[in-house]
Amino acid sequence: MLELRPILSALWRHKISALLIALQLGLTLAIVSNALVVIDERTERISRPTGVAVEDINTFGYLAIPKDYDKFEAFRLDLDMIRALPGVASATISNHVPLSGSGSSSGFYTEPNMEVGATAANFYTVDEHFIEALGMNLVAGRGFSPEEIMQVGATSSERPTVAVVTQRLADEMFPQGNALGNAIFRGGDDHPIEIVGIVERNLGPWPNSPIAGRGVFYPAIMDQWFTYIVRAEPGQRDAVLKLVEEKLAERDPNRVINSDTLEEQKDQYYAGDNTMVKVLTAVVILLTFIVALGVVGLTVFWITQRQKQIGVRRALGATRTAISRYFLLENLIIATTGILLGFAAAQIFNGFLVSEFNQPALPLTVTLACALALLGVSLAAALLPALRAANISPATATRSV
């Protein structure tokens, strides 16, 4: 039934061409499967929940033109004005913006006067509206009350007595789950900071850093580093961005305002990962395409070369299906050889990527899925020429003999 022997002996006569196609398929499998794990990892990274209302938030900052500018007074007037604007859901002031790539971090301890073994975490200084304004989810305890908010200068040594932390920090520092009500300390310090609330999640300013997700919020306003974080009602973000910018400039023209959407800042932060995803996707598509072209090219060539033989076979009674099947089977043999080679190559290539570039390991299932897909592509590419081969008339056999 299956013409394996004639196929194999015909292939043996074209071993170099066959091997070249197999080699292509193998290399493609190695590249594509490794690219897919990287794409998968990066996509997951980008789409991870951030814990904040990325799509509704705008941020605003300003630099005062006069040297002695009462910033605290300006904060109060600005925020009161912003909160009264139509379309604004909530607003806060913070030293840093999550997902922006710019922030502060510090080491924290569960015991006083410690110097080693700190848990590093991002920290923010915020006013009492921060949970609302960032669109975070309070899972335990409380937020801050207006009386708790301190005003601190850049060199002020006043320290907060309370803090809100993220669930991840709470879990890591207090694995027994008793974070709420307990105190954390800064290094070499015996000043307790009581945890009064826990928010579900906040990835922090550097989502790709190992400390992402660990966050500490202090009830304080700082005049050295500050940004207004304004959450708009759903769908109103862009209108609010323009409005707030205008009103800020109008309220006091003696400053330079800068503004941005949080989404833009997030996109900027992930631009590198996004580039990897897009470039690798392009590589996967192009490679598959090129390999398919190679298969088509070679199958067409072989068929033209063997036109006479095909005619003879047809004349001797072979059906059209038998002819097509012959070429598909031939392709299957080549592709399987290539994919077996590719399996080994994929593992070797992955070993190199893991050790050299810290990329994720390649699961066998991914290679297997890619292998099946490539097999399909190879067969599909051979299909059209194989069907056309079946149309070769038996008369060709008689023509030039």
Partner: protein
């Protein structure tokens, strides 16, 4: 002879337009992918200070904590503390030396129609321009005094001068920066090194400074740098003075040492400095400092990061697949024309002649592939510029070297790809084909 081969090659390629364009496409795509990533890597690893590479050194001091070193390839902080920078500036060994950091503020000119804008600033000691080879269009650097006492003098970049004063000689004019009146003392020529080798802390491909300010202004303006601040110690900081005397690192330090003796002397000087600090209870770690040339500095700071290098490996593998593809297609094409080669051989062409003729044909495919490949590379770089949202604009661009390299790569790879098929066809036995004609 080559001319004849060329005309043969072109005729042969035109006789099989589909197969020929497939081959050109395969080479073009491979070259396009490879050149996109190679161009990125090439541009990212450029060294703007190459001319002075042997005499410039980035200075690092290991002032970190006894219990924990710094987690970076150099195992030392990238930057130095203010107090160390001030002490180092007192040395008279280096030809030039610079302590500096990033800052910024609103800038405006009285009576001008230009709206105030925020200008990125570099607060630096006066040798900056001499050390990094930045030339002046007008004026020059500030007086030596301005590096230790608060003289409100400012140097503008060419672009800033264009924006504020329409490009005219603005030396002596005054402007408002950060709420204070400054006098312009100089205007530098366009200077935009990419990567920004002199300060790799906040984005290696960001813009360079728009204005330059003297090092003596810190106390007057209580300057907090816009760049990185890193500390390790639990320090009580209650005033700006405390901050200046803290162990927080936030300044970059560079020296120019022209002779081996100077390097030797400077090493002794740094050793003595650290010993002196140790005596006062600072520098708890084993004595260590770094003097690194710009080229090594770029590598140490991993300006070309893992992702970039991984992409270049990947695109080379991609090119390999395209090459294997081209070999298969060339083989198919040449074998199809075997009867012609047979006739040529029978008419007396040597094997070498047949071989060269086919190699020339592969070369033609490569040349065409290279030209299309350049277009694809330009497209690929455009895509990267867009995906990187402006950050890579200066890096994701092709210069003449890379264009020539693209053609070279394409021709070389197609010749490599053509070797076996051409050899194979030159070995065919003419009699086989003559028989069936």
């Amino acid at each position: 002879m080559i001319g004849y081969y060329l005309s043969l090659a072109i005729r042969s390629l035109r006789s099989t337009p589909i197969l020929s364009s497939l081959m050109v496409a395969a080479i073009a795509v491979g070259v396009g992918a490879a050149m996109t990533t190679l161009t990125l890597n090439y541009m990212m690893s450029r060294n703007a200070l190459a001319e002075k590479d042997a005499v410039l050194y980035a200075v690092q001091l290991d002032s970190w904590s006894a219990t924990q070193g710094v987690d970076n390839p150099s195992e030392m902080p990238w930057q130095v503390t203010y107090q160390d920078a001030v002490s180092l500036l007192r040395s008279d060994i280096p030809t030039h030396q610079v302590a500096m950091h990033l800052w910024g503020g609103p800038i405006s000119v009285e009576g001008s129609e230009i709206r105030p804008f925020v200008a990125g600033a570099r607060v630096t000691s006066r040798d900056f321009f001499a050390l990094f080879g930045v030339d002046f269009i007008y004026g020059g650097t500030w007086s030596e005094e301005a590096d230790s006492s608060p003289l409100q003098q400012i140097v503008l970049s060419e672009e800033t001068n264009e924006k504020l004063f329409g490009g005219e000689n603005s030396v002596g004019r005054s402007l408002n920066f950060n709420g204070a009146l400054f006098t312009v003392v100089g205007v530098t020529e366009h200077w935009q090194p990419s990567p920004k080798v002199h300060d790799l802390n906040n984005g290696s491909f960001n813009n360079s400074a728009e204005v330059f300010l003297p090092f003596g202004l810190h106390r007057q303006f209580e300057i907090y740098p816009w760049g990185n601040n890193n500390g390790w110690k639990a320090e009580e900081i209650n005033s700006y003075e405390d901050r200046l005397n803290s162990d927080v690192v936030w300044l970059q330090y560079w020296v120019q040492l022209d002779s081996p003796e100077q390097v030797e002397d400077y090493r002794d000087f740094l050793t003595a400095h650290i010993r002196g600090q140790k005596a006062q209870g600072r520098f708890p770690r084993p004595l260590k400092f770094g003097l690194t040339n710009p080229s090594e500095w770029l590598q140490l700071n991993e300006v070309v990061d893992g992702d970039d290098r991984m992409l270049s490996w990947l695109s080379l593998a991609f090119l390999l697949v395209c090459l294997v593809n081209a070999v298969a297609l060339l083989l198919a094409k040449f074998l199809r024309k075997a009867p012609e080669a047979g006739v040529r051989r029978a008419l007396g062409a040597s094997r070498n002649a047949v071989f060269s003729q086919h190699l020339v044909e592969s070369g033609c495919v490569g040349l065409a592939g290279g030209l299309v490949g350049i277009l694809l590379t330009l497209g690929g770089l455009g895509l990267i510029r867009q995906l990187q949202m402006g950050y890579m604009d200066r890096v994701a661009a092709m210069d003449w070297t890379m264009m020539i390299a693209a053609i070279g790569l394409a021709v070389l790879s197609s010749l490599l790809a053509g070797l076996y098929p051409a050899w194979r066809i030159s070995r065919t036995n003419p009699s086989v084909y003559l028989k069936t004609q």
